[in-house]
Symmetry: C2
Subunit: 316 residues, 2 copies
């Protein structure tokens, strides 16, 4: 096990990539008061990179910068070795090509100090494959953001076969300190968690359009005005838990369980076993803690009011 | 075809039901400045009804009441005939039991003036079945809200076999005037549109919990911090369209179309035919109109900032 820096002592972060994800990450880390060293493949990409950074910055200012945060603390270069000097954490957002990433991680194993965690923004490639040719694969992992990465807090973390679990724990702590909402996956699964949920919704939408049941506009109207403003505050599990009052998720599953057999989507539900029921119920009870459902409903409503006002203001 | 009142002339709305949906609708219509006549099955339900109304009211005040809106303009009674007197629109939110609704609609056909549209909040029963025993079925339809109905704007509208299309058009116009976001369905499909999208996501979530890939807490963290804050402003179609820059949805489908075959959810995607591709592309182009993707991305980012701040404030 490596003696890594304390996550809260990290001052210098390196990023790789000039696209919306790479430049977006640079913006995020700058806004959180880090020194950022960014690698772009060619200095021709500088204009695009800085444009993304500047667009992100005005939003980050609105959300609130950390004291000392400044775009002047960016070093931008097309020299990978130079960029990696002094890096205490690396966020890689190179193009989504396995051969390219494998070669890059081989190179990084020589350029980046061995105790430094290297995290990939990949949304589709398994770390087990990315790290295949990397000599120091134990500190490489996936840190998958949601676009735009300077605004949406989620980072899904998962290692490959060669990743040390301690590196995963380190990354979780670091991302938390760096102002993100890290989510450590239990398994290396295609699409991670958030994309799987989004993809199920997306494919059902495509089915509806294919069958003449809805237009793209219908889909978007339904989401924006229906589940989304609530979901920005309360996930689907707690939405059902709170909506069922005193009985919570147990009532939801015991009462509406049979509805899982109804053709309300083309996705077949899993068998509602006692074990699944208990996992859902216990999970929701844990999230709720000692909060009463009425207080959670009131909090949800206040949040929805705020979200609707924010959306209204943005449209004006 | 009936000569219905002009939707903008409606002053008196009747509601049926004492639960969160029924009482929630009453709150919404009161906040929009209507006279509201609400039927509850028994006066024993009055306390619950008024509690829901009062909770809703403080949020509605925060969102902004229409001039003249007042809770004093509510008539609450367990006398169905009395409640229906003078009603120019009826929103029914009785329990979700087919036999009960069928009997109710039979009764309503005698109590409610023939030119008045009767709309059901049902989330699962087809209007074709609900209206089976109603003598004036032509003016009955589904107006399905999202919970809480006093906050979330969506109303999904669809008629049954006997419903006049003119009644559907009338309801759409009325809901719009009454401050909702109406969405007329092209077909009577189980789960309508919003619930189908949500249900696909939900069943994928259940699969993940069943397989030990995620806990309920993981699911909610992923949604709240990932897709949801964006989706409160921008639906999934336009999210992909704008994220793909100049090429929009065409680029999304042409480039990432093969990913629809990947196991990123347990729901199989439909065949990406040329026709489906074109429907998606044309639909998104229509929504975008002459707006440039960079302006839409900037607007999206401003909206996300506002949504995140609203959620943060609600948690404090």
């Amino acid at each position: 096990m490596m003696a890594r820096p304390n996550p809260s002592d990290v001052q210098t972060v390196a990023t790789i990539g000039a696209g919306p994800i790479g430049a977006g990450w640079a913006a995020h880390f700058l806004a959180r008061g880090y020194d950022v060293r960014s690698y772009i493949h060619s200095m021709d990409e500088e204009v695009v990179f800085r444009k993304i950074l500047d667009t992100a910055w005005s939003n980050l200012e609105e959300l609130g910068l950390v004291e000392g945060a400044s775009r002047d603390r960016l070093v931008l270069s097309d020299d990978l070795a130079l960029v990696m000097q002094g890096a205490e954490f690396v966020q890689e957002s190179a193009p989504e090509r396995l051969d390219l990433k494998q070669a890059l991680y081989k190179q990084l194993s020589e350029l980046v100090a061995e105790d430094v965690v290297i995290s990939s923004s990949t949304s589709g490639l398994p770390m087990t494959e990315i790290q295949a040719e990397c000599k120091t694969a134990d500190r490489t992992l996936v840190g998958h953001p949601f676009n735009p990465p300077y605004l949406l807090p989620l980072v899904e973390i998962v290692g490959g076969e060669k990743t040390e679990s301690e590196a995963v724990a380190w990354a979780k702590e670091f991302y938390q300190i760096a102002g993100k909402a890290p989510l450590v996956l239990k398994k290396e699964i295609p699409g991670f968690i958030a994309t799987r949920l989004q993809e199920a919704l997306w494919r059902e939408a495509l089915h509806m359009v294919a069958n003449g049941e809805a237009t793209p506009e219908d889909i978007d109207i339904a989401l924006i005005n229906g589940p989304a403003p609530r979901m920005a505050f309360q996930g689907q599990c707690m939405a059902f838990h709170v909506a069922c009052g005193e009985g919570g998720m147990a009532t939801n599953l015991d009462q509406f369980g049979p509805a899982l057999k109804l053709p309300w989507t083309r996705l077949e539900a899993p068998e509602l076993t006692q074990e699944l029921r208990d996992r859902m119920v216990e999970g929701c009870n844990e999230i709720a803690g000692d909060r009463h459902f009425e207080d959670m409903a009131a909090e949800r409503d206040r949040a929805i009011v705020g979200v609707l006002k924010a959306v209204r203001a943005a449209r004006e």
